[in-house]
């Protein structure tokens, strides 16, 4: 009973973090979609290093948030796949190190690197030059991930994110 209760609590926590992702994306909608993407909610990707459940949380958050995007269906598939991969890889790699700042640094690097999926999406649709698009979306991601790493680092000292 206790075990299944904890499982359910974890599942709901993930769902609520997904909702927080959507809230932050919509609240800052002006910058959240398109090629020069500065989606501040992406900073939550840093959460993945604390617990496996945030991988699900962020993927679902991304699915819901992308339903509002102009490219809709395409963004839902590519964006969510990308979030799933990059948060998943960050989670697995972050198990190798102990300190919180090291874990966060891994997430920043992995997420910036993984933006090639989004660049590929824009390349396939529009034949926009791949490397220039990659550079632009990766810079946006790098910005929000670094800011996010600082923020999540501060928050993790106040709230136990691993539980």
């Amino acid at each position: 009973m206790d075990n299944s209760h904890q499982k359910l609590v974890g599942l709901i926590k993930a769902a609520l973090v997904a909702a927080i992702y959507v809230v932050l994306t919509i609240a800052l909608i002006m910058f959240s979609y398109g090629p020069v993407q500065f989606r501040l909610s992406e900073m939550l990707n840093n959460l993945a290093v604390f617990h496996k459940r945030y991988v699900w949380a962020l993927t679902l958050g991304c699915v819901i948030a992308n339903l509002w995007s102009s490219l809709g269906a395409v963004d839902v598939i590519f964006g969510s796949l990308e979030t799933f991969l990059m948060t998943g890889i960050s989670y697995l790699l972050s198990k190798l190190v102990k300190k919180t700042w090291q874990k966060l640094a891994i997430a920043v690097v992995i997420c910036t690197f993984s933006m090639w999926i989004i660049a590929l999406e824009l390349y396939v649709i529009s034949q926009a030059p791949f490397w220039a698009t990659y550079l632009s979306v990766a810079l946006g991601e790098l910005g929000s991930m670094i800011l996010g790493a600082i923020l999540i680092g501060i928050i993790s000292t106040k709230v136990d994110l691993t539980k």
Binding site: S4, A15, A19, V22, A27, L60, S70, A128, L151
Partner: protein, 265 residues
């Protein structure tokens, strides 16, 4: 808050609104794939004709669709300009250094523009005629076959519906916390980047704490009402595949055949 819960959904009772959300989801993805089959004027014309037909059937004003194009207009113009200036081949109209305007460039620029508009129109049509909860429901039932490879379908769909349900609630809460912090003198939209970032911390911490507390309460409430995992749950809204869903699949089949014919014509 209703606006956020409903996404871009416009309530209506047209044929497109009444289609099974699963059919709409699959067919709009399929349409986007078919767009890549187009390689000449007549095939793009056919796609636009089909799109216009579905928009007429949905009884939605074209203005709502242009609203979807607007946030992406710079990306579209940028790629169109690149296509025009950097393509080679065909008749050369203008030439300077590595830049040249050729007939091939102009044509492929227009093709890219058409492709963008078609993709955006179709995605917009899906979200305008289907509420997010229905889309989530459709995704759940389409993911069901993945249960065979131990993909946690029930858990994912439960998370999806809880998340959708709590978006407006957490939005309210975020606004409340922001107002509470404002009354204490926090300024969210002024100051340097670092100052603004610092202002977000007292917003996010209460948001996380209250979300985590809520999770405990919600879990207890669900179990008190007899929740015991996803196995054997029934649904309140049951999707029904009707004849007009099959009909729209046939329409897409006809479109595919038309596209293949025009492509090789």
């Amino acid at each position: 808050m209703n606006k956020i819960l409903l996404g871009r959904y416009l309530p209506g009772s047209s044929l497109i609104h009444r289609l099974d959300p699963r059919a709409k989801l699959l067919l709009s993805f399929y349409f986007i794939i078919i767009i890549f089959l187009a390689n000449n004027w007549s095939s793009y014309f056919l796609l636009f004709f089909f799109m216009a037909l579905t928009i007429l059937l949905a009884k939605i004003k074209i203005g709502f669709f242009w609203k979807g194009v607007r946030p992406l207009i710079w990306l579209i113009l940028f790629t169109v300009v690149l296509q025009i200036f950097f393509s080679t081949g065909g008749t050369v109209y203008w030439h300077w250094g590595i830049l040249s305007v050729t007939s091939t460039g102009l044509v492929s620029g227009i093709y890219v523009f058409c492709r963008f508009v078609l993709i955006i129109f179709m995605s917009t049509l899906l979200t305008l005629t289907t509420p997010p909860l229905e889309i989530a429901g459709a995704m759940e039932s389409l993911l069901k076959p993945l249960k065979k490879v131990h993909f946690p379908v029930y858990e994912v769909s439960l998370m999806l519906s809880i998340a959708l349900r709590f978006v407006p609630t957490l939005m309210d809460e975020a606004l409340k916390i922001m107002n509470a912090q404002r009354s204490r003198g926090v300024n969210f939209d002024q100051g340097s980047l670092m100052q603004r970032l610092k202002a977000v911390v007292p917003l996010l911490i209460p948001l996380f704490v209250s979300a985590f507390n809520r999770a405990e309460d919600l879990a207890t409430a669900m179990e008190a009402r007899g929740y015991h995992g996803g196995e054997g749950r029934t649904k309140y809204r049951v999707h029904q595949w009707l004849y007009h869903d099959t009909l729209s699949c046939l329409a897409f089949l006809a479109l595919t055949i038309g596209m293949l014919l025009l492509r090789n014509w």
